[in-house]
């Protein structure tokens, strides 16, 4: 327990906090704008890592995998938001997508008996699936639905449903093996200051998070778009009233949140690894960041991420047996005293 221990642990905590900031900032913005508790946020993180793996395997370029994975996840997030969490006007597309998905499952189940695929009879399989899909589409179109927007519980459950779907899809595409993302050579070295070794990759993580944090802050505080987002966070009805297209804002923010989570997955993949189950491991941490920092506040997310990163590191080093408890108990207490988080707007 000398100074060396404290410096290294603090450094590790801060770099972990940098990763959590990428994850938490998006979640916080999504919550602030839409009041949606997005339980699929951990899945974005994991899928970001997986997409990056594919990019690295095919092109051998780690640098390219960063933007590709983040953008792919951003598109995924925007589709999920626009079609499922707020489907007004696009119900036909939502119903169509669901009909096709369910029809594929039913056709696959039927295929367990008919063995169309095994016998190479692809056309029959497609015909069966299409017939079922058409029938389902008609049926779904005739079910009167209640809009999901007003009900936070249903939104949460819907995002969990997607998290499960993503989990299975990841298992099918990338198998259940553990992978590591290897950053390029220069980043795997260490910086030596005095007698202390600082891995350059962790320095890179801190630098990236700081850069993105500053960029986000500038965008939120200095641009027209940012002002519109802030207005929506504070009072979405009023914002709509003065002519801000809040539905476009919420889609944009959902995309941005997914983008950041996907980016976090690529960066974190080098140091946490990429494996099934990672999604629900990081998710509660992201929530801790958001709650401690305050929902819908960027600065809060930064402070929250730093606190959670440090608490997690020192907790594991100093009192491992109750380390998670020391993380979540303060989170519950903060929520009980100030539901919007330490730095949240009322």
């Amino acid at each position: 327990m000398n100074t060396q221990f404290w410096i290294i642990q603090a450094f590790n905590g801060i770099s972990y906090g940098a990763l959590l900031f990428l994850l938490g900032a998006g979640l916080s913005l999504i919550f602030g704008v839409m009041r949606i508790v997005n339980l699929a946020h951990g899945s974005y993180f994991l899928l970001g890592g997986y997409v990056a793996l594919t990019v690295i395997w095919t092109t051998d370029s780690w640098l390219l995998s960063l933007p590709v994975a983040a953008l792919a996840i951003a598109v995924l997030g925007m589709v999920m938001e626009r079609l499922f969490l707020r489907s007004a006007g696009l119900e036909f597309a939502r119903n169509g997508l669901i009909a096709i998905g369910v029809a594929l499952l039913v056709a696959l189940a039927i295929d367990e008996w008919t063995q169309f695929i095994a016998s190479g009879n692809w056309i029959m399989f497609v015909v069966v699936a299409l017939v079922i899909a058409a029938g389902l589409y008609y049926l779904l179109g005739n079910v009167s639905t209640i809009a999901i927007e007003a009900d936070p519980l249903r939104q949460v459950l819907l995002t969990v449903g997607f998290a499960f779907l993503f989990q299975q899809a990841a298992l099918d595409i990338w198998t259940g093996n553990n992978f590591d993302i290897f950053p390029p050579g220069p980043l795997t070295q260490s910086m030596v200051i005095g007698q202390l070794y600082f891995p350059l990759y962790r320095v890179f993580m801190i630098a990236t998070a700081a850069f993105i944090g500053v960029a986000l802050w500038l965008a939120m505080e200095k641009t027209r778009m940012g002002a519109m987002v802030r207005a929506t966070v504070d009072d979405s009805e009023m914002a709509r009233g003065v002519g801000i297209d809040t539905s476009r804002i919420s889609m944009f923010i959902f995309g941005l949140g997914a983008f950041l989570a996907g980016l976090g997955g690529v960066i974190g993949g080098a140091f946490l690894g990429i494996y099934p189950g990672l999604d629900f491991e990081v998710l509660p941490l992201a929530f801790a960041v958001v709650i401690i920092g305050g929902m819908g506040s960027l600065g809060g997310a930064a402070i929250g991420a730093l606190l959670v990163g440090l608490a997690d590191n020192f907790g594991k080093a100093l009192f491992p047996e109750i380390s998670y408890f020391t993380l979540y108990a303060p989170m519950a207490l903060i929520l009980a005293v100030k539901p919007t988080g330490l730095f949240g707007r009322e």
Partner: protein
């Protein structure tokens, strides 16, 4: 109204009796499956008291199952306690511990509403998960605790799966009865009033905080009972039992069957656990089905399976109205104009 109510109760009793007679005569896979469903149903029904009857969507209900289950497993593995008549003491301990935990958590959570209640119950559930996952010396950490052997008393050997099924069935039926009486009592009615409009209940002089708090503790107590049974059913207690997805599963089961109906939660549990255990033996892609059940239920069946007859009836009466040509509103307008 009264007649249809009696009919419903009769149907439920008949189905339960059929289950009690048929299941023990099937194979051991189905008996174990039914036992799991019954044990977990108690948790889902307890959640329904909060979610369906009081309007409090708790995202951390698995914590109470965890307390009951871990209490059973720790007493059994460390002290060899709870394998004889003292099993009943373990039941009491599990229930009391879970109720006590709910009493503490409730103090923090009850004041929050809407999405904040979701978040705080999630955080509290994570506290319990964190302890289960990390407190190696007590909980066995990630590996969990194996519960070897089942209790014996009154000449009953619970290691026999049929005997054990009947014991769990008895606990389930008793829980269902107690909760049914509870939601029909004046106390249950006031909970429904709070769900519909809390402010009005406050104006009427109800201490709504206390009502919600008591409901929270009762739900926790039943969660503890469910946990004690679960520990002996599954034979292992691990952080998987208190992880956030277990809590979310419980909510989905309640919503799938129909929140605010108690028996709907049992139907939902049967479908989800049945699908999971049965499909996973058949096809590798069973989790897609589970995800699809989530998405379809949430988007198209917000009132759950129990709500389907009501929706069909509404639809029928709507189309009937259009045939007549005048809706109630139009009639009102007409009478107002004259």
């Amino acid at each position: 109204m009264f007649k249809s109510q009696t009919a419903k109760i009769a149907v439920v009793c008949a189905v339960l009796a059929a289950v009690a007679i048929v299941v023990p005569n099937t194979n051991s896979f189905l008996i174990l499956l039914a036992t799991r469903i019954l044990a977990f149903s108690i948790l889902v029904m307890s959640l329904d008291i909060l979610l369906g009857y009081t309007g409090l969507p708790s995202l951390g209900q698995a914590a109470y199952l965890g307390v009951g289950a871990y209490a059973t497993a720790i007493l059994a593995s460390k002290y060899q306690f709870g394998f004889g008549y003292d099993f009943w003491l373990v039941v009491v301990i599990g229930v009391v511990l879970a109720a006590a935990l709910a009493a503490v958590f409730g103090l923090l959570a009850i004041r929050a509403t809407g999405v904040y209640f979701l978040m705080i119950t999630l955080a509290l559930g994570q506290c319990v998960w964190g302890l289960a996952y990390r407190w190696n010396s007590l909980t066995g950490g990630d590996n969990g605790i194996n519960v070897r052997g089942r209790p014996q008393f009154f000449g009953l050997d619970l290691a026999n799966e049929i005997t054990f099924f009947y014991v769990v069935f008895g606990f389930f039926a008793a829980s269902l009865l107690v909760m049914f009486v509870l939601v029909r009592s004046p106390f249950g009615r006031s909970l429904a009033g709070i769900r519909e409009r809390e402010l009005r209940m406050q104006i009427l002089g109800y201490n709504t905080w206390l009502h919600k708090y008591i409901a929270f503790i009762i739900a926790g107590a039943f969660g503890g009972l469910s946990g004690v049974l679960w520990a002996h059913t599954a034979g292992i207690v691990s952080p998987e039992n208190v992880i956030i997805t277990t809590s979310v599963d419980a909510i989905l089961m309640a919503v799938l069957g129909g929140a605010g109906t108690l028996i709907g939660g049992v139907i939902g549990t049967t479908i989800v656990i049945g699908l999971r255990e049965y499909l996973s033996t058949l096809v590798p892609w069973w989790q897609y089905v589970l995800g699809a059940v989530y998405v379809l239920t949430i988007l198209y069946l917000p009132s759950g399976l129990m709500g389907i007859p009501e929706r069909i009836r509404q639809r029928g009466s709507e189309s009937g109205k259009t045939k007549v040509g005048k809706t109630e509103d139009q009639e009102k307008l007409a009478s107002a104009a004259s």
